[in-house]
């Protein structure tokens, strides 16, 4: 429950970024030279990374850009990428997993071999390689595409396994004997049985993708400046954390909070769906 509330708050904060920044008066790209100390190599003025009434989460060293504003807009990008990638992997994995499990035969062979291949790929290295050589493509689209290509296999594997166990249950046999068409049986008899594992997977996939996006941006192949993203902020902060640790801690805290809240939400969902589970 707490997980759901925090997730909703985070999504709301990101969605309301323009409203909140209009209220604080600091856009993500506005430089504030008054908030930094040129005599200290551009460190924010004041303790705790310049946190104060003017800049609620402090400012970026050298430029004086508002950290809160960049976190909110960065959250938009991070959450957008994670949710799009989750949606695409779930739909692709669902369709291909259903086909492989239900049709069997050569469809199963082809899809399973592709899954084996993708799962043997060192996906992070490969993603970095692709992202580093492809230059003139929208980074967000590219990130979603790359994450999805390697992500759907997990869903497809879960779905395929479930379909294989469900498809010989009596109620499915009954529907087939009763003259149900393949499409009808898939949609009405098999799909409902897959809701729980897929929903649980999705709540775990979102934080995984937020983390992956952060990792790729941290390694310098993700979202390009000036577009803010959490991973990129962490990468910038890496060079400053000895003198301005708050600048590193803030995006890390948001990243950690997102992962924590989604994990709690996923655990809660799994318990709710699993009649065997005892609440811990």
């Amino acid at each position: 429950m707490a997980g759901l509330v925090v997730v909703l708050i985070l999504v709301l904060l990101a969605a309301l970024a323009p409203v909140i920044t209009a209220w604080t008066g600091w856009a993500p790209e506005t430089f504030d030279k008054t908030a930094i100390d040129p005599n200290m190599g551009g460190l924010p003025k004041g303790a705790w990374g310049g946190i104060g009434t003017e800049h609620l989460l402090g400012v970026e060293p050298v430029t004086g850009r508002d950290v809160l504003s960049r976190i909110l807009y960065g959250g938009q990008i991070s959450l957008l990428i994670a949710m799009l990638a989750t949606a695409i992997t779930v739909v692709t994995g669902l369709v291909l997993g259903l086909l492989a499990g239900f049709l069997g035969g050569w469809a199963d062979t082809v899809i399973s071999r592709i899954m084996d291949l993708l799962m043997s790929f060192p996906s992070l290295i490969f993603m970095i390689a692709i992202l580093s050589v492809v230059r003139d493509v929208n980074r967000i689209v590219l990130l979603v595409a790359v994450l999805s290509v390697f992500g759907w296999t997990v869903v497809a594997r879960i779905v395929r396994g479930q379909v294989l166990t469900i498809k010989h249950r009596e109620y499915v046999e009954a529907a087939r004997v009763g003259g149900g068409m393949t499409g009808y049986i898939l949609l009405k008899e098999i799909l409902p049985g897959l809701t729980a594992p897929i929903l649980v997977y999705a709540t775990q996939a979102v934080p995984a993708y937020v983390g992956a996006e952060a990792a790729l941006s941290f390694l310098g192949v993700g979202v390009r400046p000036p577009t803010p993203s959490w991973g990129q902020m962490i990468n910038n902060a890496r060079g400053w954390f000895m003198t301005d640790p708050v600048y590193l801690a803030v995006p890390c805290a948001f990243l950690g909070l997102t992962v924590l809240a989604c994990t709690l939400l996923g655990d809660g969902l799994r318990d709710a769906f699993d009649p065997k589970a005892v609440r811990a």
Partner: protein, 327 residues
């Protein structure tokens, strides 16, 4: 089992070939021209053609690919440059002016040291804490362990690494900044340079092992055969270790194999944060310099680790769980 292993090895060879072809195609069809980088700033089109010819890049892609493949087994001479690349030849890094294989071997020690130490740490800590939590289910200890596991899975690796560097190295001055030494040269310095990266990486993975061990141990200890073992009058230790833990090890082993196989890429951020000269750092630098032969080599090596780890896990199933038979 031998037939099974051989068939799986055949499948691995096929997968490696396909991965090699895909990676090769992507690198060599994309606009980035390695000859242009090698040629330098004052490059004329005539010189560029010479460089391309010397590097063998003017050959058709298929010819280049086949000569790359044969180079792995037989070695080759690169283009017309006269550079010899002994087997196994995974191409030549023009940036480092060295065969890729030598670079990989050079860095492998660091990555292997990092992976091995971290894996031992997280496996021992994860299974032990998970076991303790499961046996005292519902107690304060259990809650504490579950909560800290949740906290460490959520903490980004950057934060853990930064906190360790900040408090242990900068503020506490307990350790020098990591300066990697091979284990045989100076074991103490080896440990000193790797202990923080080990902790960072282990913190990242241990939490999942705690959760997994705890969950499946709680499930196992409720099984009727555990009650039977207790009823026979076996000491609790034997019941827990020989009867309980043994069946819990199968899912843990699966995850462990997959994690270990994927650690090459997984350790990339840790290596970057601590400045360790491992394979992850090599890849990161190579990508920055668009040194494609190195990236291709690392991709193949990483894929080989992943597939081999999966095979080893599948074979070990039979050792841990005698019910498993290989068809």
């Amino acid at each position: 089992m031998i037939v099974y292993a051989l068939r799986r090895l055949g499948a691995i060879a096929l997968i490696m070939l396909v991965i090699c072809a895909i990676t090769f195609a992507i690198f060599y069809l994309l606009p980035d021209d390695p000859a242009l980088d090698a040629c330098g700033k004052s490059c004329t089109s005539a010189r560029l053609a010479d460089v391309r010819h010397a590097m063998g890049l003017d050959q058709p892609v298929l010819t280049q690919f086949l000569s790359y493949l044969s180079g792995i087994f037989a070695g080759r001479t690169l283009g017309t440059s006269g550079l010899d690349c002994a087997a196994p030849c995974f191409g030549y890094s023009w940036q480092y002016a060295s065969p890729v294989w030598d670079l990989l071997l050079d860095r492998l020690g660091v990555s292997a040291s990092l992976a091995a130490g971290a894996a031992v740490l997280w496996l021992v800590v994860g299974v032990l804490l998970g076991l303790m939590a499961a046996l005292r289910k519902g107690s304060l200890l259990d809650r504490g362990i579950v909560l800290s596991a949740l906290a460490t899975t959520s903490a980004p690796v950057y934060l853990i690494a930064a906190l360790l560097i900040y408090f242990v190295i900068l503020q506490g001055e307990l350790l020098p900044f990591p300066d990697y030494q091979p284990v045989l040269d100076n074991p103490a310095a080896w440990v000193a340079s790797l202990i923080l990266p080990w902790i960072t990486l282990a913190a990242l993975y241990a939490a999942m092992y705690i959760r997994l061990t705890r969950a499946s141990m709680i499930e196992t200890m409720a099984e009727p055969y555990i009650r039977t073992a207790r009823a026979k009058g076996l000491p609790e230790r034997t019941v827990v270790v020989k009867h309980g833990l043994r069946s819990t090890m199968t899912p843990i082993l699966t995850i462990f194999g997959i994690d270990l196989g994927g650690l090459l890429a997984g350790a990339m951020i840790t290596e970057t944060m601590f400045g360790l000269p491992g394979l992850g750092k090599l890849t990161f630098d190579a990508i920055g310099k668009s040194d494609q032969p190195v990236v291709l080599g690392v991709t193949l090596l990483a894929a080989l680790f992943i597939t081999l780890a999966n095979l080893v896990v599948d074979l070990l199933y039979g050792v841990i769980d005698p019910r498993v038979r290989y068809a």
